[in-house]
Symmetry: C2
Subunit: 319 residues, 2 copies
């Protein structure tokens, strides 16, 4: 049998037809247009499910179930998206509606959670039983896989790694608390510190790279300047890596996973991120004489969500 994996994003809905081993046979996408009534979004989702299936040369009879990764909080048992802030959704019965439209079982989970499962099934953490996926973007998202399955806790709200407090009384966060890990480890953090440095030191390479237009500073600007050994950028990037490592150490000391994968925009830095990160984790982990998680780059990009959503549906149907 085959499964449809849906990556519901703020901009696009991407859907793939996935086999039982986690391979995408065919995929396609349509704009989300999330300002519309949610029912219209679900209609487009159903239509794309049918199209992807047909374009893959399969029929809906070949589809065992559909999985959706949602940028928000879902309750799979009731088919409800409790909220998805980027979509402006509250209490949308998406699972129920899509299930009725396709006459298939539909399962939902958080997008970072399904991406974690995708990286375990077919990506950078292939074969790991216990694994954590981190996505370093505008914020920091994460997903936990335990014993080969998504772990989201008792009320489905676990895995919120980005809001782990790593500096009591630290930088104010959008969540209302202070010192959340993502304040120091998101792309946004690199941009914020890059801007400060460019203002403080107009001779900084960061400033030169954007020709003085500070609004053009991206995470990549800072990382590239660090690669070129600009003193300000090197310091910012060193602090960034240390903050990232210390949070990963918290996760390792707590959950002792087999692997940790880092993805998202900042992870495009590749080995320039991975190598100092691994060194910093190894030198600060609590049990220095015991083995600890292997840290790797995520490799699937957006496909992680499609594959993970499909495999999550498969796991739940076979549970």
């Amino acid at each position: 049998m085959f499964y449809l994996g849906v990556d519901l994003g703020g901009t696009n809905i991407a859907i793939g037809l996935v086999d039982e081993q986690g391979n995408i046979l065919h995929k396609d996408s349509v704009p989300t247009l999330s300002a519309r009534p949610p029912a219209e979004v679900v209609d487009d989702m159903a239509a794309l499910c049918r199209k992807v299936t047909a374009d893959a040369g399969k029929s809906m009879d070949d589809i065992a179930a559909v999985g959706i990764g949602v940028p928000g909080l879902t309750i799979d048992e009731t088919g409800v998206v409790v909220f998805a802030t980027n979509l402006g959704w509250h209490d949308v019965h998406m699972g129920t509606q899509l299930g009725r439209a396709l006459n298939k079982p539909v399962h939902m989970d958080n997008d970072a959670n399904v991406a974690a499962l995708g990286e375990v099934v077919a990506g950078g953490m292939r074969g790991a039983k216990n694994a954590i996926f981190l996505t370093l973007g505008t914020g920091v998202g994460g997903g936990i896989v335990l014993d080969g399955k998504i772990f989201s806790g008792t009320h489905h709200v676990g895995g919120e790694v980005g809001h782990m407090i790593t500096v009591i009384n630290g930088e104010p966060c959008t969540c209302g608390n202070r010192g959340c890990w993502e304040r120091y480890t998101s792309a946004t953090a690199l941009i914020r510190e890059g801007k400060k440095a460019a203002q403080r030191n107009p001779q900084s390479l960061i400033n030169k790279k954007v020709a003085g237009d500070l609004d053009k500073i991206s995470a990549r600007t800072v990382i590239d300047a660090a690669r070129e050994e600009d003193a300000d950028a090197v310091q910012i990037y060193r602090d960034y890596i240390e903050a990232l490592a210390l949070g990963i150490i918290n996760l390792i000391n707590l959950l002792d996973p087999e692997m940790v994968a880092v993805g998202g925009g900042v992870a495009a830095a590749g080995d320039f991120l991975l190598e100092p990160l691994k060194a910093c984790v190894a030198s600060h982990v609590f049990y220095k004489d015991a083995p600890h998680a292997e840290i790797v780059l995520a490799v699937l990009g957006n496909d992680a969500g499609i594959i993970g959503a499909a495999v999550d549906a498969m796991n739940k149907e076979n549970a």
Copy 2:
């Protein structure tokens, strides 16, 4: 069948005969005398296992297995205590030796982990599937129970809650890192801050309670002075509760357990600890509209380790 639960401490070895429901039918203890060769400690442990069984009116044929909670890192599969710092042990084949002496299966796990299981089976977190136990003593220990079983991760080193970094570049910790949670939330933290306040302000009630002998300041001294509304003590205790709450919030945001129990010396403060702690957690948790873990006091004291070790052995035998 019955199980023997062993709580191996730095001072005493406590052993109880436990039924399948987690009730202690009879218990006894002997001094550990940990400066001796470990084999002698194991001999005393075996003798006490036989004595407790006989004194409970049972025979060794009634015993299905033995479980041991160890203040250190163990590998249950090989029967080895990798290290137990308080006992000065490294690579002690305790599980193998006790198993041979009693001709019974022996299982081992970390003492805080088995105490967590004890509180779930028969204590303050009875019935919870996912639960976290915290012990606020000289340091801060913890154990995680997921799906009714001890969760210690891939290499058995998970659950190290006390060394979660909550203040990057914060107070130096004995582990070599800075800003570990236990620097702010152990009894030691209350004593440290109490001493500072007493030095700064000789009129402080903290100072009066120990008649100026700062070495006599205990966690209880500070807590009692806070109850009596001494300004210094109130501030110290408020900071303490906030630091404790923020780390619990990290655990909730990450693992979303059903219950969290606090035990250890500081938890003797009872509702004077629990009520402000619950309020602080509720006001800072990430998903404020979703339910979150109930926070309770641990109730079993040292019995948690005996019961948890016995039930852990039962779980592993029945796995």
